[in-house]
């Protein structure tokens, strides 16, 4: 009796004491790409990494905010993932300040980022002259997607700016179709506001608002016109908009029940998953000038510092796989973004992506998205005000402008 108990105790002690050895080149990657199109896209990264000798361990968490929160908690708590997704911009500022991320200067030099990526994107991942994240795509945030069937039914033309869009919207309303498919969540209310700001106000006004926080500009007539256009669009959404998810709104456009949606180019994945092709079944454009202000957002991967030196090698392998030309093209095809490397042949991408690549060849269209210009605290405060202005008819434009001005003047 005693012998077997002792043996049992020894065995369990051994098992507990055996170190949790990570398999060679095993990478735990946290991200929030969980919709159909997004999963197919991240599988491209996983397959390419596995082919290069690594082992991709997928840690998908639905919801960008949830995934970022989980990653930050894991890093601060001592069990960091090998890589974790963030949006291009200031979301990981505090992680850099607290010395939690690996310095990626070697990857930057090896891949010669300065030659292949837009300067705004490189700036967005550089802190104090060092690179701390690998950008993997460029997402345009201010696209307009239209249902060709719905537009034909209403006899409306594809809009080109924020003046003739109302002509099209009125015709759609008269035809009994939902004019503007909308997701009534704070992120997309801010997204629509940003689209109007960039499309009607222009790239300079956009940077002046989010980056320079120019209060004098906000109090001027041009910004007031933007706010009025934004409010006017509220008359063209349907009753089910509050709380609706963005892909449910895209579904309305896919089914022809709605005429148009303002969304980022990640919505193309939904159209592809439904078997629709750009220009044939759905239209895509960015409203504004002929060379419009293109709000460049996107995703990056950060690499938290690991206790185990072997893990750092895995991280460098993963970083190089992410920026490999073939991987970039394959990922862009599935994700709906354009490659972050502007030196690639984009003829295999869809019509919308080719339009974007053509625009971005002109540096004047490259406008950093608000995540690259303002910290989450300021973005959130403005988002609350925009959401209030959108949903509460009793809030006047004057009140909105006054509140926005005082928020921009605060320290964040």
């Amino acid at each position: 009796m005693i012998r077997s108990t002792t043996a049992g105790l020894c065995l369990s002690a051994l098992l507990l004491a055996a170190p949790q050895a990570r398999a060679q080149q095993k990478a735990e990657v946290m991200h929030w790409w969980t919709s159909a199109g997004e999963s197919a896209a991240v599988r491209v990264f996983a397959d390419q990494f596995n082919k290069a000798g690594g082992q991709w361990v997928d840690m998908a968490i639905a919801g960008g905010a949830n995934a970022r929160t989980a990653a930050i908690n894991a890093m601060v708590g001592g069990t960091p993932p090998t890589a974790s997704q963030f949006n291009t911009g200031k979301q990981f500022d505090d992680l850099v300040e607290n010395n939690l991320l690996v310095n990626l200067d070697s990857v930057e030099k090896q891949q010669n980022w300065a030659k292949i990526m837009p300067p705004a994107i490189i700036d967005a991942v550089t802190r104090d002259g060092h690179a701390y994240a690998v950008p993997v795509n460029i997402h345009g945030q201010n696209w307009l997607f239209t249902s060709n069937a719905a537009l034909a039914k209403a006899g409306a033309a594809m809009p080109t700016n924020f003046t003739d869009i109302f002509v099209a919207l009125d015709k759609l309303k008269a035809a009994g179709v939902v004019p503007l498919a909308f997701s009534g969540q704070k992120t997309w209310e801010r997204g629509l506001f940003n689209t109007v700001l960039a499309g009607q106000g222009g790239g300079d006004m956009f940077v002046s608002f989010w980056g320079k926080r120019d209060v004098a500009m906000v109090k001027g007539p041009a910004f007031r016109a933007v706010a009025d256009t934004f409010r006017k669009l509220h008359g063209y959404i349907d009753a089910g908009a509050p709380g609706r998810n963005w892909n449910d709104a895209t579904a309305l456009v896919i089914q022809g029940k709605a005429g148009m949606q303002v969304m980022g180019d990640w919505a193309k994945g939904e159209f592809s998953a439904a078997g629709q092709t750009p220009d044939k079944d759905y239209g895509c454009t960015v409203l504004g000038a002929a060379s419009p202000a293109y709000l460049m957002g996107g995703d990056v991967f950060v690499f938290p510092k690991q206790k185990d030196a072997a893990q750092t090698k895995t991280q460098m392998l993963l970083a190089s796989v992410l920026l490999d030309p073939a991987t970039q093209i394959a990922f862009a095809q599935k994700k709906g973004s354009i490659p972050v490397r502007l030196d690639l042949d984009t003829s295999s991408l869809d019509a919308c992506a080719r339009k974007a690549s053509a625009w971005l060849a002109n540096p004047k269209t490259q406008v950093p998205a608000n995540e690259l210009l303002s910290p989450p605290a300021l973005t959130g405060a403005i988002e609350d005000l925009v959401s209030q202005f959108w949903n509460d008819p009793s809030m006047t434009t004057d009140t909105f402008i006054a509140r926005v001005s005082s928020t921009l003047a605060q320290t964040f």
Partner: protein, 299 residues
Amino acid sequence: MPMAGIRKQRIGSRIPAQLALLPAVLVALVVYVGATTWTVWISMTSSRMLPNSVFVGLRQYESLAENDRWSASVSNIVLFGVLFLAAALIVGFVLAVLIDQQVRAESLLRSVFLYPFSMSFIVTGLAWRWLLDPTLGIEKLLHDIGFAGAHFDWMVRPERVIYTLVLAAVWHASGLVMAIMLAGLRGVDPEIWKAAKIDGLPVWRTYISVIMPMLTGSFATAGVLLATSVVRLYDLVVAMSNGGPGISSEVPAKFVMDHLFERGNVGMATAAATSMLVTVAAVIAPWLYWQNHRKGAAT
């Protein structure tokens, strides 16, 4: 007094009891008191996504006072709290009274009414959101069966959405109140009923003037349990309306959570949390004082 005699015990036999309580006391001190003190300290710093030690005095509280979303959250939680407590207590009491009438399928009915309480707030919120969505739920059903002009779009109207939260929360909690009240009702001496009948009191009058005062303990228990759900209301709001439309159904707990994580503004979040603590303490302290005062007067 006999009580005093029983209370006198040898000092030695109290030590094991105190030792057994020591871990719990330590946890309470370190975790609750320690974490609360840390939170109050952080609320006076300029912390953004991760905490720092840059002292800024009451600047976060000033920003909080000017914050529209915080004002909306506070007025929402007060309105929600009052309506939820009143409705849940009344509905729960009525259900208990009805079940107490020696109905046939009593245990089945008890289970049916108590079942919603076993569901998480997330499931409750999601189900009610679908039901109340004008394009998916009750309003669409009414339109489909012919009442084309029917409206039940409270979920998407900023001035009405808080009532939908009350509705879902009352559905969730009535079962619990019913169970507590039923236990209390079962404890009522049957002689009281006979006495009331002899006095010629109508049944409803008996309930209101005789039985309800006897159930003050049950009401207090149920009330305290419901009040804690009011203060920590978060997951129901996230599942149902996510604070929308706009900021019309924001609540303080959601404000704290959003600013702690997604907004990367730990300083503002801890300031909001401290405000919540001070408010709850301000409400409880007079009640505790009154309780002690009553006990003191009784002995």
